[in-house]
């Protein structure tokens, strides 16, 4: 079987899984629905490996294959197919997406076991994986936009999965609206490129780019900025990032899959895929790099202050994607995508660990209420700490090798990019700090009642309530199920977290500078046409930069140790002295309030104006009322004649006949 056939298989398995689970939902016993869905994704993953093996068998210049399912539109000079493109970048993304998705499906089999919406969850999850794979395998803008929109819809469905929770539905709407803003940008960019190059598929556009556009051509920069709008909306970069922390309303495996490992990396994939365009429009690439850097610092500072465990990890995701965006914007494609892979591993692992802890806390999510879970949950503690070490870039973990390589490339590009790299290093220090803020506050210090109960072997159970607002709930469909699951008691959760912990620890070894650069070599055919292919820091420089990153990571961990374990009073003193700053960070730099002021309130006021003035006064009053008024006045004349008075009618009859007779008499004479 060749790579293209494997490509179609990769797309077919999740569709089959989704159809099976959704059509047979009330006939599948127990947790079978979840296992079927997981099996479908395993099929996708194995097919991705098939694609990978077949591609490696081919010569380097022939590793880009296109095939189409059917022709969507064909005219004289323009043709659009439903086509997929199988090349190293697409295969890389497929492997990461399907691999991590499979592990998350296995985790969810246990995590969502007591939820009344179990089959619906797995149908949605398979639909999401299908959409994401469609997005990365797309061969032209049409299929890309289809996958893009489907992924947004899947995100909405899964964020509002517990649909009877008002906060969840608001969060789903917010995510969808912000994503649509990005979709508009992407579609307009496609139109602009179609207009100038006459083609919508990648090969046609990229081949025409050199001929049609000058460097920094106005239309090209506009198209690239619009593509960035789409990428930033999907990847939650400034200023379109506000939906991601609220998206934590969805179940934790959803947060792990969609909002850490896969969907939010679609923007990074997009920029990497469109690299010929971005390299021809350096202005847009610079804008992207600057925004990526600004985002990564912003999100790291907020993660230091917020107290909801999932939201800390969400802001961490925003920050790490800032690294990836910076990477692919300065043409460090290999490092940027390698960080995408390692981030998928350790971020999914962190979310899974958080899910386990939240289960032990009976759905409470605030770290103010957590502490001392080390003895009660040893497996979760070890895996969570491995993930946190990778996030912090502790030497020799996966994060160590991936994160700082990006900054190394930025420095090698020289001039202004060095500033971005310095900011990146600063944020790396803050990242290590907040990563271990989580670890120390959740697993160390004094054990909270839930931890002490768990040590005795009894899982805590509280009344079901909304963790954000405290409202009382029940456990019927539309709300979370009655039982909470922790990793120590569910083998599927352990089976998912274990491999991820190993990957988070060891995956860095595939891209050690100077020894093996497997990711770079694999992706080389796709990025061979990059004009920055030779900009490469030397091995010695790279090791220095990695070393600086590792030291900053250890320093961050040390500072967290000092503040959270050694001198606890220091924390309160710092908070008192920097109270204004803390409030500013805790309120996420007031972005939500700003958008409320700029967008939500004017649009709501416009809606009220529409209802009161346009609808009620104008349409109902003037147009409808006016029409009926005119008819009423006209008919009142007719009504005046109908008196019901018999003799009056007789008189009118006679006068009418007489007038008629008179008329005919006169006109005939």
């Amino acid at each position: 079987m060749d790579a293209i056939s494997f490509g179609w298989l990769v797309l077919s398995f999740p569709v089959a899984g989704m159809l099976t689970v959704s059509l047979l939902w009330n006939r599948l016993p127990g947790r079978l629905g979840g296992w079927i869905a997981s099996g479908a994704i395993l099929g996708s993953f194995l097919s991705s490996i098939g694609m990978f093996v077949d591609l490696q068998d081919r010569p380097e210049h022939a590793r880009s294959l296109v095939d189409s399912a059917w022709t969507y539109a064909a005219t004289v000079d323009f043709k659009v197919d439903m086509s997929i493109l199988v090349d190293p970048l697409a295969v890389f993304m497929c492997l990461v997406v399907s691999g991590v998705s499979f592990l998350i499906h296995v985790y969810s089999v246990a995590y969502m076991a007591s939820d009344r919406g179990y089959s619906r969850y797995f149908a949605y999850l398979n639909y999401f994986v299908f959409s994401m794979l469609l997005l990365v395998l797309a061969g032209n803008f049409v299929v890309l936009i289809i996958g893009w929109a489907f992924v947004g819809a899947a995100s909405y469905l899964l964020i509002s999965f517990w649909y009877r929770r008002a906060t969840a539905t608001y969060a789903g709407i917010k995510a969808f609206v912000i994503n649509v803003v990005g979709d508009v940008g992407l579609v307009i960019a496609a139109f602009l490129l179609l207009d100038k190059t006459g083609s919508l598929d990648y090969r046609g556009i990229f081949q025409a780019t050199d001929n049609v556009f000058r460097v920094d051509d106005g239309t090209l920069v506009a198209a690239c900025l619009l593509i960035l709008l789409g990428a930033f909306a999907k990847s939650a970069q400034l200023p379109l990032h506000t939906w991601l922390p609220d998206a934590m309303e969805g179940p934790t495996p959803v947060s792990a899959l969609i909002h850490a490992a896969t969907m939010v990396t679609a923007g990074v994939y997009l920029i990497a895929r469109m690299h010929p365009l971005f390299e021809m429009a350096p202005t847009a690439a610079d804008v992207s790099a600057i925004i990526g850097t600004a985002t990564l610092l912003f999100a790291a500072t907020v993660a230091v202050a917020v107290t909801d465990l999932k939201r800390i990890i969400a802001y961490s995701t925003i920050s790490q994607i800032g690294y990836m965006v910076l990477g692919v914007s300065v043409a460090a494609y290999g490092p940027g995508l390698f960080h995408l892979m390692t981030h998928a591993f350790f971020k999914a692992l962190l979310f899974m660990g958080a899910g386990s802890v939240i289960g032990a806390m009976s759905a409470a999510q605030s770290i103010d209420r957590m502490g001392g879970f080390r003895k009660a949950m040893p497996f979760t503690f070890v895996t969570f700490t491995v993930g946190a070490l990778a996030l912090a870039g502790f030497p020799l973990t996966a994060g160590f090798f991936s994160k700082d390589e990006i900054l190394g490339f930025a420095i090698a590009r020289g001039s202004g990019y060095v500033v971005l790299a310095v900011v990146g290093y600063l944020a790396a220090f803050v990242t290590a700090f907040y990563a271990f803020r989580m670890v120390f506050r959740v697993f160390f210090r004094n054990a909270v009642p839930e931890a002490r109960e768990l040590e005795k072997g009894h899982l805590a159970h509280h009344e079901p309530e909304n963790p954000a607002s405290g409202e009382k709930e029940d456990t019927d469909v539309g709300f979370p199920g009655p039982e909470h699951h922790i990793a120590e008691r569910s083998w599927p959760m352990k089976a998912a977290m274990g491999p991820l912990a190993l990957l988070a620890a060891l995956a860095g070894l595939v891209q050690v500078p100077g020894i093996d650069e497997a990711v770079d070599k694999f992706l080389e055919p796709t990025f061979a046409d990059s004009r920055y292919a030779d900009v490469h820091p030397s091995t010695g420089t790279e090791w220095t930069e990695l070393g600086i990153g590792g030291l900053l990571g250890i320093a961050g961990i040390g500072l967290a140790y000092l503040i959270y374990l050694r001198r606890r009073s220091l924390r309160l003193q710092i908070r008192e002295r920097f109270d204004a700053l803390h409030t500013f960070l805790f309120n996420k730099w007031y972005f939500d309030e700003l958008y409320e002021l700029l967008f939500t309130r004017p649009v709501a006021a416009l809606g009220r104006f529409g209802r009161n003035v346009v609808e009620t006064d104008f349409v109902q009053g003037t147009i409808v009322g006016g029409a009926t008024g005119v008819v009423r006045v006209g008919s009142s004349f007719a009504r005046a004649i109908q008196t019901g008075y018999l003799r009056g009618y007789a008189l009118m009859l006679l006068v009418g006949v007489g007038a008629l007779a008179l008329y005919f008499l006169i006109s005939s004479s």
Binding site: A640, I641, Q642, Y645
Partner: protein
Amino acid sequence: MDVAWFLVLSAFIFCIGIAGVLTRRNPLVVLLCLELMLNAGNLALIAFARMHGGAAGQVFALIVMVIAACEVVVGLGIIVALYRHRLPIDVDELSELRG
């Protein structure tokens, strides 16, 4: 005899009938005057038949008499129904069919 005399008489009786229909309040009297009008029309028809020598006018007059009879039946039926429902037997009072 000149046909004009018959026509004048017919017109005269017709006008008396109209005067009665427009002026009287008792529905029975209105029906009587209506009959007067119909018979005036009959007279005119017979006069013209005599003038032309054909029977068409006379046949038509017979038909008009049949129709007058049917109409009187319906009208009297309405008046009896009014009496039975204790409504005022007065044309001016019965004005509910108004707009």
